[in-house]
Amino acid sequence: MVAASSPPLLPPWEADLRPEQLARIEEATEQIGRELFARFRADRARIWQRRWWDDRIMAWAMRDERLKVELFRFVDVLPMLRSNEEVAGHLLEYLDRVPDALPWWLRGLLRASRNTRVTRALLARAARLASSDFARRFIAGSTTEQVLRSARRARRQKQAFTLDILGEAVISEAEAEAYFRAYVDLIENVAPTVNQWPTVEQLDQDVLGALPRFNLSIKLSALDCHFDAIDPEGVMQRAGERFRQLLRIAKEHQAFINVDMESFDKKDLTLHIFKTILMEDEFRETADVGIVIQCYLKSALHDLHELALWARERGTPVWVRIVKGAYWDYETVHARAEHWPIPVFQQKWQSDATFERATRYVMQHIEYLRPALASHNIRSIAHGLATAQVLDLPASGFEIQMLYGMADVEKRALAERGYRVRVYMPYGELIPGMAYLVRRLLENTSNDSFLRAGLYEQTPVELLLRDPLQVGKQDGNRSRSRRASPAPRG
């Protein structure tokens, strides 16, 4: 597999940068982080801005974990409710379960509104407004026209985009076909328009040449209603064939395709399909593709190394979006309920440190893997910028990716400094969008979230910018011990 002439490609756990490089990175991280923070905290939301209200509501929801659960459950069901009566009914039912978590004035208000039709209708309206407001914050539109408007706006602010179609879980072949068609239509109908838009040097060029403007993030599981790792050959036939077609259409329209990563049980299969198809003669030279490595996974560095070996053999690099991962709660709960080994780290600093290690590794090997750092965590981003600086990697050689509706201040600050910031823009109908929305709400309000600590809780900058490995050393002694699980069968 390894060509005789090429130097050995050591795995990240065996070879890191030199100690003095690491020291310089740490120093630069600290400095860049402080600068970003200054911007971040200076730009606090004002009361007349929608964001201020969002922030208040979220801060309020976070005061009590049980209240948060009930509110998010309510947000989740809301689009399915038809009448005001039903909306008000559900809201009261949910809040009734946590009466002691509500402030006295709200309890009073709810008691008052419970009784009459008019007040219930008002309550329902207020609830709908608040939640569609949240939906609009995180979901870039419900139609293609709307999302294009968002995309255009982003480009005017020197930010690139990647589109994501929100859809229902794919549980039938007809739905898989429909999802596939939606991807195809999107590329065929929208890419030509986008390609007409004026060039933005900062976004459309990188060290190797032109970059596609139209960028689509897809989920392989949307292409097959039985995307089940029990049968890799069958999935390869069904989802794989559709993936090939998408790659062809994308090439025809100079579009970029990124394969998103989903839950752990789909990870190996997703990597397998990605690697198999992109090694085929027809696609071996396709450069406008990317995949995701989730750094909360204990297997992240191993998978990254395998990917680098594969890319080296392939001869054409692929983009790697480095993330922490969006399914932490699910993975933890699911594995514990099944008595399976938990695939994700249980300490936040481990995910952070792995993210940084992965960043360095990819930046060390840009001839095989091209870095896309996806995070809202200023420390994680600053560390990436610092590494690029120390390795002399130009700003166009990598990109920073952030989600629509999150960390807008950071996005602007980075874009102004000349970095390529790409905004992940999900769009679609509200009902299928709920799973995504609830994940974002959870992320913004989770105990371990950077945004929560940075935004709502005003944690001191020094703490937020700490090297995760140091955090690990300090917290190591008082780490929560978790029940060990038995080894996997086989």
Binding site: R73, V77, L81, R82, S172, C225, I230, E338, R489
Partner: protein, 534 residues
């Protein structure tokens, strides 16, 4: 009264982990076990009485349901005389077994569980062939068998611990005696788990067990017999009598020295056993025979207007068509609120149409063949009835598969009325009736308006509706916002009432009490006015 007390109750029993087939090593292990077992097809299993292999003049032939030209194997076919022999041997051995410490019996069962772990994938592979169980179903059944051994071992030790109510001068003890000899009459649909469960319960509590497995799954049962002996269960307290129910089953039920009949199967047979056991009690035998019967179900899932349809469709599809609908817990009715009826029905139909049909040994398969010809014919009759009683929205054609195996494709009938036969009778196959309800009252009336009360469920996101479901749906196992099959030992003790069963709970804390006779022992410890210190 049915309100669950608030607060949390963490699980205390750790179930055998299910196989994670996203791990390649597990897929490879399953595949190679299937190939190994394929080499062993065509085996022959004699009866085992008192540890001795015993041949009979008749034989039972077991074939692969999805490929009926191929024999899984043959077994001997026991007759009444063999039942006598087994009971005779069991009487001699059971006394000694019952006097061993509970810990020792528990230890044998744990050894049995370990042996099953060693042969895990092969046991599952036998199920793939003999029962047409797809991979996940087959391996889950072996996990459950292991769970039963471990759980009843643990529970039997708990029963054997000290229970009493002493006062100064008086010692009061409750002890649990085994009943004696248990006839275990098991079904083919969970061929290892249910047989193991009823047998382990009997053995753990000090009884002898005579196993009468279903004709369709007697080869798998022979492996339990073999492993039982290997685990150190004395030959006299465990016997293997495959045979025809009417013959050896009936003989065991009536036998004057069989104290207990543990039965899982159809309602007709269950009620007949119950009647027969009552009829002979006090006549040919000088005790009241105990019958434990788990029978059928006509289980329903309600889909509320605010349900998460992604989840509801997936849960209903799996509950209705997993293992071809041949589970007593399977969903055979779905009651959908008017507002979401059309949307739900459409997605349900498309999702079901997409289920992979094929040989159980193919990893992708979700729907394989039903157990035998008789089952297929019965299901086809119900499909014909369904066409008269409702609107056939889906009838999957299995094509050429039907030439080689007992396949029946998934069928869905919409607009079925609550009184229709399709909504009342247990079909035990991949046939689902869809009923419309205008509100929750009507939905619950429909759900409860059958002879059975085994499993049931609801998909709803209204806390108030879920609370009503908790109180109003009459079933032994109620599931909120999830599928209604796949109960786990210790976590979801399983069993129903009405004509679904006598109300016992396999894999639950109360289960073993049915296998024992409680005895109270009171001793006056006072002698001439002085008593031992407390």
């Amino acid at each position: 009264m049915t309100d669950a007390p608030p607060g949390s109750c963490p699980a205390t029993f750790a179930n055998e982990p299910h196989v994670d087939f996203s791990i390649q090593a597990n897929r490879d292990a399953m595949r190679s076990a299937i190939e190994r077992v394929r080499q062993k097809l065509g085996c022959h299993c004699p009866l085992v009485i008192n540890g001795n292999p015993t041949e009979t003049s008749n034989r039972i032939v077991s074939v692969i349901p999805y490929d009926f030209a191929v024999e899984v194997g043959t077994t001997a076919s026991a007759e009444a005389a063999h039942a006598d022999q087994a009971v005779e041997a069991a009487r001699a051995a059971q006394r000694d077994w019952s006097r061993r410490p509970a810990a020792e019996r528990a230890e044998r069962l744990r050894r049995l569980a370990d042996l099953m772990r060693k042969e895990f994938f092969e046991l599952a592979a036998w199920e793939v062939f003999e029962s047409a169980k797809p991979w996940r179903e087959a391996t889950a059944d072996v996990c459950e068998a292991i769970d039963f051994c471990e759980y009843y071992a643990q529970e039997a030790q708990r029963l054997a611990s000290c229970h009493g109510a002493d006062v100064p001068g008086e010692e009061n003890r409750f002890v649990y005696l085994p009943r004696g000899i248990a006839a275990v009459i098991a079904p083919w649909n969970f061929p290892l788990a249910i047989l193991t469960g009823m047998t382990a319960a009997a053995l753990a509590t000090g009884n002898a067990a005579i196993m009468k497995p279903a004709e369709q799954s007697s080869v798998i049962a022979s492996h339990l017999m073999r492993l039982g002996l290997e685990a150190g269960i004395p030959p006299g307290v465990l016997h293997y009598l495959p045979g025809r129910g009417e013959e050896v089953g009936a003989a065991l039920v009536e036998h004057p020295h069989v104290h207990l009949i543990a039965f899982t199967g159809s309602r007709d047979v269950g009620l007949a056993i119950h009647a027969r056991a009552a009829a002979v009690s006090g006549r040919s035998c000088k005790f009241v025979k105990k019958v434990i019967a788990e029978m059928g179900g006509k289980n329903a899932i309600v889909v509320d207007r605010d349900a998460d349809l992604d989840e509801a469709v997936a849960g209903v599809v799996y509950s209705a068509f997993g293992f071809q609908g041949q589970k007593c817990s399977a969903c055979s009715r779905v009651v959908v609120l008017e507002d979401v009826y059309d949307a739900f029905l459409h997605r349900l139909t498309e999702a079901t149409r997409s289920l992979p049909v094929g040989p159980a040994e193919e990893p992708a398969t979700i729907v394989s063949a039903v157990i035998d010809e008789e089952a297929r014919n019965r299901i086809l009759e119900y499909i014909a009835i369904g066409r008269e009683e409702g609107r056939e929205v889906l009838g999957v054609d299995v094509g050429d598969f039907a030439k080689r195996g007992y396949y029946v494709g998934p069928h869905i009938f919409a607009d079925i009325s609550p009184e229709a036969r399709l909504a009342q009778e247990e079909i035990f196959g991949p046939v689902l009736a869809v009923l419309k309800a205008s509100d929750l009252d009507e939905a619950f009336r429909i759900v409860n308006g059958v002879d059975y009360a085994l499993t049931g469920g609801i998909y709803s996101r209204s806390p108030a509706h879920l609370d009503r479901a908790r109180r109003e749906i009459e079933v032994g196992n109620l599931y909120l916002n999830r599928g209604i099959t796949g109960a786990l030992v210790g976590r979801q003790p399983f069993g129903g009432f009405k004509l679904s069963g006598i109300g016992s709970k396999a894999g639950g804390q109360d289960y073993l009490l049915q296998y024992v006779l409680p005895k109270t022992i009171t001793e006056n410890t006072m002698r001439r006015g002085f008593a031992p210190p407390e």
